[in-house]
Symmetry: D2
Subunit: 384 residues, 4 copies
């Protein structure tokens, strides 16, 4: 695949971003491109595409994944190929991810006589919203081919274009959410003793929640808990009978996730009980934590050094508190999720900015590293 082709492909994708599962135009481009390569894609869930490139004979299956959805942001780059859709933009680089995976598909398809096993291409929707990975799996994606290993890349403007960054362990957090209600007897504000003052209780409970991470999570292990909403009462002089608050917590190990969750529950149950009120909590699970397999990370780093040259790989240590539902695929196979440098080194707008603008030199790098990692995996570089 020539550099011009991949750049043109990415610009086409960039111009027609969709949100969540509403990706008709993107899906059409992907399917046409795959069709042009003689690869038959199948739909899984809504707007998800799975496709297989069979090698020359029996072997392992490697999954390569790209996410396809954009963000509800009005683009401000001013490029000729900028978003044609008002208020929607590929501000998180999923156009780059999709183009890279299509490019890698072309490469791997052309060399299918050279590897055993198969490549499972996965184009998923809704990474930015409620998650498109799980619906694809639940819709039978792995019946098409069951992965033995998995790779994905994500744009990172803080790394220079032509380089990659790799975690040898936790890379992204697990996201959990909680919704709480404190119920008690209301009362006139001048007679708090006749009620249970759920506002006083809610404040005390929220403060106790904020203290948790610093007390029960190992200090060197990333974790965060935040309360984003708190609401109670309608009149200055009336103590309401109900206070509500909600928030999130993010962790990078399942052990901490479960212990923090237990402590949160206990806090919301116990503290209201002091004054006779009742605390209720409901948890909502988001994406699981995303942790790379160290050996798969080494494989990617070696592949990247071969392709991009010495000095092109950074080992990343601190996981991001952001999330990515590529973690669902890693529940079924070891893998590595790596960061593709898209920066020019100066004035690079961050992800989710209306001026996010990856250096397009990153595209060929992404294509090649993805393909090289897949081939290395199928060729047996990873043994466990």
């Amino acid at each position: 695949m020539g550099n011009d082709e991949i750049i043109a492909l990415r610009r086409r994708l960039h111009a027609i971003p969709g949100l969540g599962f509403d990706l008709d135009e993107t899906v059409k481009i992907v399917e046409e491109y795959l069709g042009g390569l003689g690869i038959a894609g199948r739909t899984f869930g809504r707007s998800g595409i799975g496709a297989v490139i069979e090698g020359r004979g029996p072997g392992r299956t490697v999954l390569l994944r790209a996410d396809m959805d954009g963000l509800p942001i009005e683009e401000e780059t001013g490029h000729p190929w900028k978003s044609e859709k008002p208020g929607v933009m590929h501000a998180c680089g999923h156009d780059v991810h999709t183009a890279c995976l299509l490019g890698a598909a072309k490469k791997l398809s052309a060399s299918r006589g050279d590897f055993a096993g198969r490549v499972l291409l996965v184009f998923q929707p809704a990474e930015e919203t409620t998650g498109g990975a799980l619906p694809m799996i639940e819709d039978g994606l792995f019946e098409m081919a069951s992965p033995d290993g998995a790779f994905a890349l994500h744009c990172d403007p803080s790394i220079r274009s032509g380089a990659v960054g790799v975690h040898r362990g936790p890379a992204r957090a697990a996201a959990d959410m909680f919704d709480c209600v404190i119920k008690g007897r209301g009362a006139h504000g001048a007679e708090p003793h006749r009620g249970d003052d759920v506002i006083a209780i809610a404040c005390r409970t929220v403060s106790a929640l904020h203290e948790l991470v610093g007390r029960v999570v190992p200090p060197a292990e990333p974790a965060v808990l935040s309360v984003g909403t708190l609401s109670a009462g309608t009149a200055r002089n009336v103590l309401p009978d109900r206070a509500e608050f909600s928030g999130i917590f993010r962790t990078v190990t399942e052990e901490t996730r479960l212990s923090l969750r237990a402590k949160i529950r206990r806090t919301v149950m116990n503290i209201p009980d002091v004054l006779g009120a009742v605390g209720e909590i409901q948890f909502t699970e988001g994406y699981p934590a995303l942790a790379n397999d160290p050996e798969m990370a080494d494989l990617v780093m070696a592949a990247a050094e071969r392709i991009l040259g010495e000095g092109s790989v950074t080992v990343l240590t601190a996981p991001s508190m952001g999330v990515d539902d590529f973690s669902w695929f890693l529940r079924s196979a070891p893998g590595c999720y790596f960061f593709l440098g898209t920066g020019r080194g100066t004035d690079d707008a961050p992800l989710h900015s209306p001026r996010f603008d990856p250096d397009e030199g990153c595209l060929e790098a992404g294509v090649s590293v993805l393909a090289e990692a897949a081939l290395a995996f199928l060729g047996g570089d990873y043994q466990k």
Copy 2:
């Protein structure tokens, strides 16, 4: 005035309650009744009536006050004379207050040859809402007659009908209100270090406010602080840039009122500043504290004993945290605000209940004690 007349008058008033300043029918009844006594009432503020009964010659002026407004409550007593207005009810006994003052006016008018000085009758609106006393004063009420002493009564179903309760000092609290805003930088919930977490700050601030009364008010001095509303944020995973809360505090001495207010302000300013956020507070003054003059209280107690017999007077000690804007009149003259028993001794619904139902025997007691206290004052029983 016969007992039957006063009962009928009160039932007429009870049937046509109004809210706040919307008291057209009540005002009409009051003005007609006064007119029937040959007393010309004048309007002060909106829906307030002032009227003077001149005695036989020069002397002091005694103010007698009744409040006239009802409450937005659907009556559930089932009496034939129950409220004709859906959702509006004399659930705080202001119909009784108004009837008693009209009855006292008849008595005093009949005996105007027996006393020197004059009686200033005040029928005020909006005691339950934003206050009707101050608008009457500001509209020139005291130019009609400047009071040397003032009396008012209020129903109390916890005291038996035929008895009264009197405070020899603080009787009702001063009401102050506050509205606070905490402003800071918003942030993603997974990146609290990029913002100022105004929810964490608001909770800490509210808890600190709740600790204040127990630390800075003399323990034997009634006071209360409550936060009635707290609101911030719209999404679980976004730390908002603004939190709002509001509340009240009530005190019975000006010294404590000012010192508590200063501490509240300092709490709301200082605690947010720890984390770089900004706390703002706005105070709204409500009714001043209502404190009886001890000697005027003694005068009322003596008058009540003469009228209602020995054992009919209880000295009340603990002030109520409720408020009454009769306190505005007490800023201009010493006085006494006393509680008229309306209870039957069993199953008496409290004030503000849809089943509040005063024993009508209280009416004659109220009329007589008001008139007797006025005469005693004009006759010189109070000297200072």
Copy 3:
């Protein structure tokens, strides 16, 4: 009893103060004086004296009580009759109380032909320390004579000499104490997740305790809770396994006392449990609340007005948060504990000050009001 005699007697007592139960010299003076009146005192408990003055025939028994102990304070008045004991002083006026009761004993003894029934004189130790009243009762005081009514007085420099102050209900608080321990796993300060951080827990618990009074006690009812000690840890970088704190709470009604105690216990149990630590609490009861019987208060007020003239009596409303174990006697009989004015109106040092210096004119007033109240009670002024 002449004024000179009572003043001389009080000065003798003032010069030889004792602490707690160590009252040998005081007891000797009291017993000699009673002996001079032909009254045989008996010892109850350690250093307590009970004595009976029999009237002319059968009737009720009235208890009159004085406390005798001083304080560990170095006197600074400079009077010729100042304390001869270094570091010990009658800074709370118990010398005045004892002298007044001896004076009243002389008066009543002289008029024993004029009243029916009997007077039970009680001179008690240790009011300032662990309580001398209960040991006297437990040692059989009431077998000597079982009281139908009881009176006592206490100095008050904020009331002018020659006047008294009387509560018609709660006069002094009940004192309760609590001792708490928070136990948990210790840990290195850099690894709080391996322990339970009992300091964090103790701080959160103490803050929650401080919030209680303002939330669960009726605002107009006096109450206070304070934590006087808090101690944990010995090194900056080691989280200890134990934190201790202790405090007091004072209330004026048994209902509030019990409900506050239950909330305190729940706070200390529940909050540590959030983080897996254990909270323990032990309560110690102090003196019960001291509440006057309203009719007995009226009797004292009437007596005082007869003796001291009109205007000499103030009805006190706010109870003191201080304590007095005269309340133990009031568990057996209705009574009244009143405040004897000792002030000159300017620069009066407060009780417990090294410069406390009552106007000696108070002595004759105290003697007479005590005797008059006793006679009124025995004469039937109190009927219930």
Copy 4:
């Protein structure tokens, strides 16, 4: 150096541990051993030894450091070579560190014709107490030879013997300490309004401090704040005029260290001010943060793989919240502090345990990796 020799050397050191700067016997062994190699050690600070091995000609200087002090722990291993000193034990493996450095000295001394430049051997006291590195530097250590690079190793029983673990960045935290006093007016516990309740204030302040890390430190950046002591008051019913508390905070970046320190100061100043009390804080700096230079880490990893074979190196991601004053040497030169596996894989007692017992196979590994890293550095493997 034969394996038996290094094992015997380590056992001799293990048997005679010292504390802090009291290392006479250890120093004697070190000096004798160096003397046997023809290397003249010089004393720097108290009990610190510096020595230089000159290579064949001009070149860079590489610093190799071992710490020598033990811990106040009673050994429980039961080995024949166990500590001969009651209550003192090499429970942190500094005997291993010292033996490894002596072994490396022998190796490097023997091959001094093969490298240019020089090796600066540093044996330091007091790593476990107040720090022995800085006194050596301040006493002129770098005048002996100014380092261009620096290496040190530390035992780690969680890594198997024969392997090493290396951080490519932050490895250990900066330690800061703080001591706080809250001063205010004392008062009787029943009259908190007359004082400033420094216990209430201290509790609120400590809770606010515990909330800080979770709000102002990036979630993926290791940090911890703990309060280890809190003390106030001596009697349950007296509010004291002074509360004291102290604690630590540890961070891995200077930016966070400074911003956290500023927020701590502000918390301790602002919150007491709300109630009119005064908060004071004094900071004490401990060891700086220890961060490896990524390229020096790569050099050590490469050296270790050459010596110990493939799979013997683990890249460590999460820094330890523990501290080591090797960081003082890294202020003058880039370097790498790596973890030497000492585990058998089962039942390995942790560091600072009375049963800590490194597998002695670690010794030869430590000697060789240290020497290899030094040679690689002097040979030019690190270029910057």
